[in-house]
């Protein structure tokens, strides 16, 4: 695979070795320690760690961006999946795709795309959410799950992931159906275990990549729309502002 990392991207700062928590990253440990103090005595007094965890999760800032898909523009080329895998592998992270294209025969293509590719209907890119309330975060016993303090991006620092699977337990979003890729069935949470790397993965919005999420950049339908080749007021894959209302709509 070509080296697709962006020169100068602060990878070391993003994925320090275990124990080298960056000062400005919000980790579960800091949140539990600091969060309990801040959320407070009330939760402790109530005596339920579950409530404390809920409070910690509910307290987090929203991610400022989320990748949103428009299935009526998807031609199932899998450029998003393939590039997601390739880029993450090129920067030493799990090669599992964080976006999956599902086969959804009931979805019709918008006529502007169908004019070129009439037989390529029936796909839905399934992106991962940047949950308004990140239930995975308080479950993580290490510094693996993090929230970027500048952007609110929820991501997994794989170097700190111990693959305990606790993040997966409360993940509220699932992938169910058939993958476009070789018609394989899929049934999983959107925080997914990668046995090859022995870590859990989720969409990290390609954190550290100067151009932003590679799926959005490399989608050929997006390229065709931006070039004026296909007329559309939306993109197949778009990076949109993340709000709680939008997240609920997407789920």
């Amino acid at each position: 695979m070509p080296e697709m990392n962006d020169p100068g991207a602060p990878q070391d700062a993003l994925e320090p070795r275990s124990g080298a928590q960056p000062a400005d990253a919000l980790s579960r440990r800091r949140l539990v320690v600091g969060g309990l103090a801040a959320v407070g005595a009330a939760a402790v007094a109530a005596g339920t760690l579950g409530r404390a965890a809920s409070a910690v999760a509910a307290q987090q800032p929203l991610s400022d961006r989320v990748v949103v898909a428009d299935p009526t523009l998807c031609v199932g080329c899998l450029a998003c999946e393939v590039n997601c895998s390739a880029w993450h592998a090129s920067v030493g992270r799990s090669a599992l795709p964080r976006i999956r294209v599902l086969s959804t025969p009931q979805v019709a293509l918008r006529k502007e795309v169908a004019a070129y590719l009439p037989a390529r209907a029936g796909y839905s890119p399934a992106t991962r959410r940047q949950c308004a309330t990140p239930w995975c975060l308080p479950n993580c016993p290490t510094t693996g799950l993090r929230i970027d303090p500048q952007t609110g991006n929820r991501y997994i620092a794989e170097a700190d992931c111990i693959a305990c699977g606790k993040c997966e337990v409360d993940c509220p979003v699932e992938w169910q159906g058939t993958l476009a890729r070789k018609a394989q069935p899929i049934s999983s949470k959107r925080v997914v275990y990668d046995p090859a790397a022995n870590v859990y993965t989720k969409c990290d919005l390609c954190i550290g990549r100067a151009g932003g999420p590679i799926c959005v950049e490399r989608c050929p339908v997006n390229v065709a729309i931006k070039a004026g080749y296909v007329t559309s007021d939306t993109l197949c894959l778009d990076l949109k502002q993340s709000t709680e209302a939008q997240w609920k709509r997407l789920v």
């Binding site: 450029a79 070789k182 018609a183």
Partner: protein
């Protein structure tokens, strides 16, 4: 063409060692490699000549298998009475490759390890093609006549080898030599799709080479056939091809492999399963032909391949029924 070092290997072990150098390429018949070097599609600093390795061109029956050295020339395969008798689909595929000149130079190993013929990949002005290390596939919205009906993933180039399709239907395996010794890989695992790595077509590592092809005893002497459709019969890459192996009547087991429609030889699994237990009658053949293209997702320019493949499957099974 840029300057390069030319080295004659005298053994497989030496070839493996020489191929470990950066941008080293294995040279057999050279019918694909020289074009790639001239077009500068792959940086090449060292060429390792395999033709100087003795004993890699044998065609023989051994341990119940048909074993063919990777340096066996396509013309020799096409003319071999042993191959024609034991694995007719392979003899027919070798005879269908390109022109007499190319078959005289080209080898079985080279035919399996060749690069794709996508016109965007081969176009010097399309350096941003995925297979060139770029980030775009022109075929998705461009001219896609040559491209994949199945299993495209970012890149839609098809596997161009004719012999690969025959060997897939015959259930062959390849012996691959590398620094850690030799390993045996099934043909269907040897070819990899762009979802795995869009820069490569095969599981060969840069310092590995194919040394032998083995066709199992279960396929030897059985009915098999290879058919190819191309614009020019005298010299051309396939627009579609089919290889079929059928055991028994009624069919105990069938293997159907499709060429030039996917990034790898494409097994027609639904058609294979349908044929089991049935006699090759006209209605069965027609239904199997339809099933062979189940799941095809044409781009703008390659929908014709659906009918082409169905027609080839009908012809192939009709021949095997006779």
């Amino acid at each position: 063409m840029k300057r390069f070092e030319h080295t004659n290997a005298t053994s497989v072990a030496e070839a493996v060692r020489l191929l470990a150098a950066q941008n080293a390429r294995a040279l057999a018949g050279g019918t694909d490699l020289l074009g790639i070097m001239k077009e500068e599609l792959l940086p090449t600093e060292r060429v390792v000549n395999l033709k100087t390795i003795p004993g890699l061109d044998a065609i023989k029956e051994e341990s119940g298998e048909l074993r063919i050295g990777a340096l066996a020339r396509l013309a020799d395969l096409a003319a071999s009475a042993l191959v024609a008798q034991k694995a007719p689909a392979l003899a027919q595929a070798a005879a269908a490759v390109a022109s007499p000149q190319i078959r005289t130079m080209g080898t079985l190993g080279g035919n399996l390890a060749q690069k794709v013929r996508c016109w965007y990949y081969r176009d010097p002005d399309r350096a941003d093609c995925y297979k060139r290390g770029g980030s775009f596939c022109y075929a998705v919205f461009g001219a896609s006549d040559l491209h994949a009906l199945f299993d495209g993933a970012a890149c839609f180039a098809v596997q161009p080898s004719d012999t690969a399709v025959a060997l897939s239907a015959l259930g062959a395996s390849l012996v691959v030599a590398g620094p850690a010794g030799q390993r045996v890989v099934g043909v269907d695992d040897f070819f990899i799709g762009p979802d795995v790595d869009y820069l490569r077509e095969t599981a060969l590592k840069p310092d590995e080479l194919i040394v032998e092809v083995r066709i199992p005893a279960s396929a030897l002497g059985q009915k098999s056939v290879f058919l190819k459709a191309a614009p020019r019969r005298s010299i051309d890459f396939a627009r579609g091809s089919v290889a079929a192996l059928v055991l028994g009547s009624p069919v105990q087991r069938a293997r159907l492999s499709l060429g030039a429609v996917a990034p790898t030889p494409k097994r027609a699994s639904a058609a294979e399963a349908f044929l089991a237990g049935k006699k090759l009658q006209a209605d069965v053949i027609a239904q199997a032909a339809t099933l062979a293209t189940a799941g095809a997702k044409p781009l703008a320019g390659n929908a014709y391949k659906v009918q082409l493949i169905q027609g080839l499957v009908r012809q192939a099974l009709t021949r095997l029924a006779a």
